[in-house]
Amino acid sequence: MCVGLSARVVSVKDQTAIIDAGGAKREISSGVMEDLEPGDYVMVHAGVAIAKITESDEEEAVDVMEDLL
C-alpha cells in the first residue's frame, strides 16, 4: 500500500490531474499540491500526488555524496 509511483503530469484541472506512469494513464488527486503543471514529475501515493520530483536519482547521488568524497 505504501509503494510510491513516480509519474509525469499530463494535465491538471480542479485539483485533479491525469498522470502518465510508464504509459499507463490514471486520474489522481492534486489536492495537496500547489503550482502543479503539465510536464512536472510527481510522486503518487494511494491516488494522491504528494511531492514534485526535481531531478533524477543519479543527479541526486552527485549532490548527496558531494562532501563525503
Partner: protein, 350 residues
C-alpha cells in the same frame, strides 16, 4: 552507475569498523534492500534490521476484528488497501469474512471508495484508513470529498499512525535509522532533526531506487564512523525540509492526534490520528455505535519482536513452516512490505 554511486558501493563493501546496527524503518525499504541485492553488499559487521514502518504490520489485531464486525454484523461494504485482506484477526481475516459472505473490496485509493459509495447509494461503504503520514492525506481528501458530495453512506475506520512518537519508542534499538522518504515528503525533516539535536539519534532519509539506497547507506556508514550524531536528507529530489505544507494543513483540519495501539510496540501515546468532531458523521466507530473490540494476537507469532528489531524473522519458530505468505500467522508475512515476507521471498532460508 555513476562515479558517486560506485564510491558509495565501495564505502559499504569496504567497511571494517566496529559492529553497526542500522534500522530501515520503512517496509518498502526492507523489500527493496533485499530485492536489489544490497544486503549482499553489506559486510558482516553491519546488521541491517527492519523497523515498524509497514503500516499493515503494525495494525493491531483488534482493528481487523472491528472491520470484520462492520462487514458481518452491520453488512457494510468494507473497502481496503489489498494488503490488509489476509491479515489475521483474532478468529479470521477479512478474506475469511468474505468467505462467510462479507463484502470486502480492495481499492487503490480511498477516493475510489468514495466513488463506490456515490455509485451505490444502497450500500454502506467503510474505508479502512491505515497508514502513516504518507497515506493519511488521501484518507482526509476522501472524507472531505464525501462531505462535499453529501454522501451519507461513506465512513472511515481509522487506524492512521504518525512516526515521530514511534521513533521515540525505538531510541536505542539501532545505531542509526534509515528514515522513510515518503513520510518525510509529507512531514518534512523537523522531527528527525530534533531527534538528532535533542536525543543524539542519527539517521538519513532515503529514497527507493538502487542508487538512492546505496548512497544513503554509504552516507550513514561514513557518518557513523565519524562518531557524531547526524541527520542527513539523502532524498532531496522528493523530500524538502518543510515537507508538504498543504498536506499537513489538510491532516490538521480533518484529523487530530490520539493514542494508538501498535502491534509489537503496544500503546504509544498520541501516535495515532482520528477524525475531528466536525467530521464525526464519517467516523465508523461513532456512526455504528461500535462496542469496544480488543483483539488477541496469536502467541506463537513474533511479529512484535521483529518490528522492534529484537529478532529476525528467521528466529521465529513458525516462520516458513506454519507461517508462509499463503497461510500467514502474523501481519509481517502478509504485506509486501513486511519483514517476514521479505525474508521468505529473498533470504534463501526457506
Amino acid at each position: 552507475m555513476n562515479e558517486q554511486v560506485k564510491a558509495a558501493r565501495d564505502i559499504i563493501t569496504g567497511y571494517k569498523g566496529r559492529p553497526l546496527r542500522i534500522m530501515e524503518v520503512c517496509g518498502t525499504h526492507t523489500h527493496e534492500i533485499f530485492r536489489l541485492g544490497i544486503r549482499k553488499l553489506v559486510p558482516e559487521g553491519i546488521d541491517i534490521i527492519s523497523g515498524p514502518g509497514c503500516p499493515v504490520c503494525v495494525t493491531a489485531v483488534g482493528f481487523i476484528d472491528e472491520a470484520i464486525w462492520l462487514a458481518l454484523e452491520k453488512g457494510c461494504t468494507v473497502c481496503t488497501f489489498g494488503d490488509l485482506i489476509k491479515v489475521p484477526g483474532t478468529e479470521m481475516s477479512l478474506a475469511g469474512a468474505r468467505a462467510k459472505g462479507a463484502k470486502v473490496r480492495p481499492v487503490y485509493s480511498p477516493l475510489d471508495a468514495v466513488e463506490l459509495a456515490k455509485d451505490n447509494p444502497g450500500e454502506q461503504v467503510v474505508f479502512l484508513a491505515v497508514g502513516f503520514e504518507t497515506t493519511t492525506p488521501s484518507a482526509c481528501l476522501a472524507v472531505k470529498k464525501a462531505q462535499e458530495l453529501g454522501l451519507e453512506n461513506f465512513s472511515v475506520l481509522t487506524a492512521n499512525k504518525t512516526m515521530p512518537n514511534a521513533y521515540n519508542a525505538l531510541v536505542g534499538s539501532a545505531d542509526a535509522f534509515i528514515y522513510p522518504g515518503h513520510v518525510n515528503a509529507i512531514t518534512g525533516n523537523g522531527a528527525c532533526k530534533r531527534l538528532c539535536e535533542e536525543k543524539g539519534v542519527s539517521g538519513v532519509v532515503a529514497g527507493f531506487t538502487a542508487s538512492e539506497l546505496v548512497t544513503a547507506l554509504a552516507v550513514c556508514i561514513r557518518l557513523l564512523e565519524k562518531g557524531e550524531p547526524f541527520f542527513r536528507n539523502c532524498y532531496p529530489r522528493v523530500v524538502r525540509d518543510e515537507g508538504n505544507p498543504a498536506a499537513i494543513k489538510l491532516m490538521d483540519e480533518v484529523m487530530e492526534p490520539c493514542d494508538s495501539e501498535w502491534r509489537g510496540l503496544g500503546l504509544i501515546p498520541m501516535s495515532g490520528m482520528k477524525l475531528r468532531e466536525s467530521y464525526a458523521a464519517c467516523d465508523s466507530r461513532i456512526k455504528y455505535d461500535m462496542p469496544l473490540i480488543t483483539g488477541k494476537p496469536n502467541p506463537a507469532c513474533r511479529c512484535g519482536d521483529v518490528l522492534q528489531g529484537k529478532c529476525k524473522p528467521s528466529d521465529c519458530k513458525v516462520f516458513g513452516k506454519v507461517c508462509t505468505p499463503l497461510h500467514p500467522v502474523g501481519a509481517c508475512m502478509v504485506s509486501d512490505e513486511g519483514a517476514c515476507a521479505a525474508y521468505y521471498q529473498y533470504s534463501g532460508l526457506v
